[in-house]
Amino acid sequence: MIFAWRAFTARQAPRKGAPYTHNPDGPWPGKQSQFRVMAMASLAGQITFYYLAAVSVASAIFAVTRRNPVHSMLWVLVLFLHVAGIFLLAGAEFLAAVQVIVYAGAILVFYLFFLMLLDLPAEIAGPRFGAHWPLGAGVGLAFAALAWYAHDPELGPAAERVASGGHSLGSLPAIGTTLFTQFVLPFEIASLILLAAIVGAVVVAKRKIGS
């Protein structure tokens, strides 16, 4: 931060009478301070990432193991907001906004409404897990271990950051251009899926007239 500020003020206030010289390294006076600024930003980003990851895992565990379903739901809300933070760090700004609005705002509230179907005191008094839960826990652990084992540590180098018309990777123009050119058929099919889900939910949940 301090380095960035020094670089900024150095650029803003040139010495009086000094002729303007074009600096090919960018707006900062020296390349070294630029690298320092980038390294510090990257360190802050890594700390933020590990905080978000730790809270995500902890809140997911709480969501799965809490006895009270409403408490579980609130832990899932914490999880979704932290995953939105991870999306922001990964440069997926639009995805983070959709995560907060659609997941945390709409889907989770929908689930909370349906919790009213439960007899909450009886639910809290009963066992949380079925009798087969050790099997489920074993399968989950085995899956996570397999996924960790199967992931290739040699992922290849990260691709170069490309500036396409001044838009960043996850910005609305970039997402919209991809969505409506390359993915226009899947987009229409997604709308059909949503329509089928709406009609199906109404048909399944409708009380039969006369019965």
Binding site: A122, W133, L155
Partner: protein
């Protein structure tokens, strides 16, 4: 810049937790919420790969995953509603008609 390997590890762990919840919990609504946790884990890895490869397509696929999650929530909770009309409680251990 997010380390892609750490993102994939986080995704695997979150998916495993969601799997444990789906297989272990007794309550149908919480089983559906565990499915949402698993879908979110997949979205994390999609976003990480999108950043690693500098390709917008991963984020677009994640948007489709969110749309399908919304559809799944609607249909699944409609089924829970129809089920709760016929019997009290929404425990999977009460649903044994298909068992022999």
């Amino acid at each position: 810049m997010v380390p892609v390997g750490a993102c994939l590890a986080l995704s695997a762990v979150l998916f495993g937790i969601g799997l444990v919840g789906f297989l272990g919990r007794r309550n149908i609504i919480l089983m559906l919420v565990s499915v949402e946790i698993m879908l979110n884990a997949v979205n994390v890895s999609l976003a990480a790969f999108s950043q690693h490869l500098q390709d917008t397509r991963g984020q677009v696929v994640a948007l489709f995953v969110i749309a399908v999650a919304a559809a799944e929530a609607a249909v699944g909770l409609g089924l829970v509603l129809a089920l709760s009309r016929n019997r009290p409680g929404v425990s999977v251990e009460d649903l044994t008609q298909l068992k022999w």
